[in-house]
Symmetry: C2
Subunit: 233 residues, 2 copies
Amino acid sequence: EIVSVIQRHVSQQQYLHGKKILISAGPTREIVDPVRFFSNRSSGKMGFALAEAAANLGAEVTLVSGPVNLQINHPNIRRIDITSAEEMFDVITDHFDQQDIVIKSAAVADYRPKFIHQGKMKKKDGNYTIEMERTKDILATLGEKKKHQFLVGFAAETDTPIEYGLGKLDHKNLDAIVVNDISSDGAGFEGDTNIVTYINKKKQQESIHQATKTDIAYKLFEWIIRDLKDDDR
Amino acid sequence: EIVSVIQRHVSQQQYLHGKKILISAGPTREIVDPVRFFSNRSSGKMGFALAEAAANLGAEVTLVSGPVNLQINHPNIRRIDITSAEEMFDVITDHFDQQDIVIKSAAVADYRPKFIHQGKMKKKDGNYTIEMERTKDILATLGEKKKHQFLVGFAAETDTPIEYGLGKLDHKNLDAIVVNDISSDGAGFEGDTNIVTYINKKKQQESIHQATKTDIAYKLFEWIIRDLKDDDR
């Protein structure tokens, strides 16, 4: 294990040299008023592990992160913090053209409140309804725009995650998808371990049974690098 | 300033000796499905500062906290972590009878989604509405139940906060309220400083212009201790 860690950090260091990689991480927050918001349980740990692994492998990394409680400090990583899905969309699309690889591990809100209250809403008796509208679909937009970029999505699902992931891979014109069954123990958002299946465009599936998010990050880059070579980019 | 800090930690140590204090802190999370939730910007910093100050002043503290990224370690503090408004209600009402002072600094959700999805909701085209229902009003319930307890609420408002706080003080049968104008710079949820006005039952108002949450915590206990003596409890 020590040898494999050293290998990663030293001899594999060249594999992503000269590559520009954008990685998104964490949740977004969609505000209802100055105090209240909608969000999700993404901790950002998977995305931060990917950013660190990519940087150690020699890539020039742009990490676009929602509100998380994580620090990262690496000369190859430039971190950009955002709050909402709209800001995430703007930053990623602004930076997309220069990238070689884009990995969207952030859990971006699909919906946001249609109306934002300028002052804190006062509570009233009884129920009320919040009208929600769709946010822009970042992955689908990138899938349409992409030229040379290798585009990787994540699917975090509780029901039939593999089938769902395969659909998303095709539908959004991705090069690979990482499927995450968040209903399993040892997988998902807040923990330090994950259980994932990587699927590329040829529908090759690679599964990792429970491992740390750091180990998974290095494994994912092995497959991404393999598939990049196959594509002869 | 050094002298005043030492005074606090040493000579004032006796002021709350033998008192049982319950302090609530942080936000609550109201889940929509296994991934998505509704929450607010409370960081828990004010409540944790109050718990630490009370413990240093000799009290036996129960700190009931929503999901925050704060550590606390003090022999006089027992921390209980909760997630939802419902859990907060249950823990506080269970512990209420034994307390001498209860300070509700948590930002408990007033509303929660009426329906919780067991699996992650799939997104669909177009808008949708989330039906929200009221959570139980913890402060009002404590105000009705209270016997000997000194009950302190917080009001975090953007519009006419003092008037709103005075209304809440009466309406919920509180002994004091701490009013927080969260629209001011240097005040509110995420920062390390705050700007507050303490108002007791006699409508005496004490204001603290911008100070650290730790300094504000000690100041608030000075006024609480003064008002406890006045009440001759």
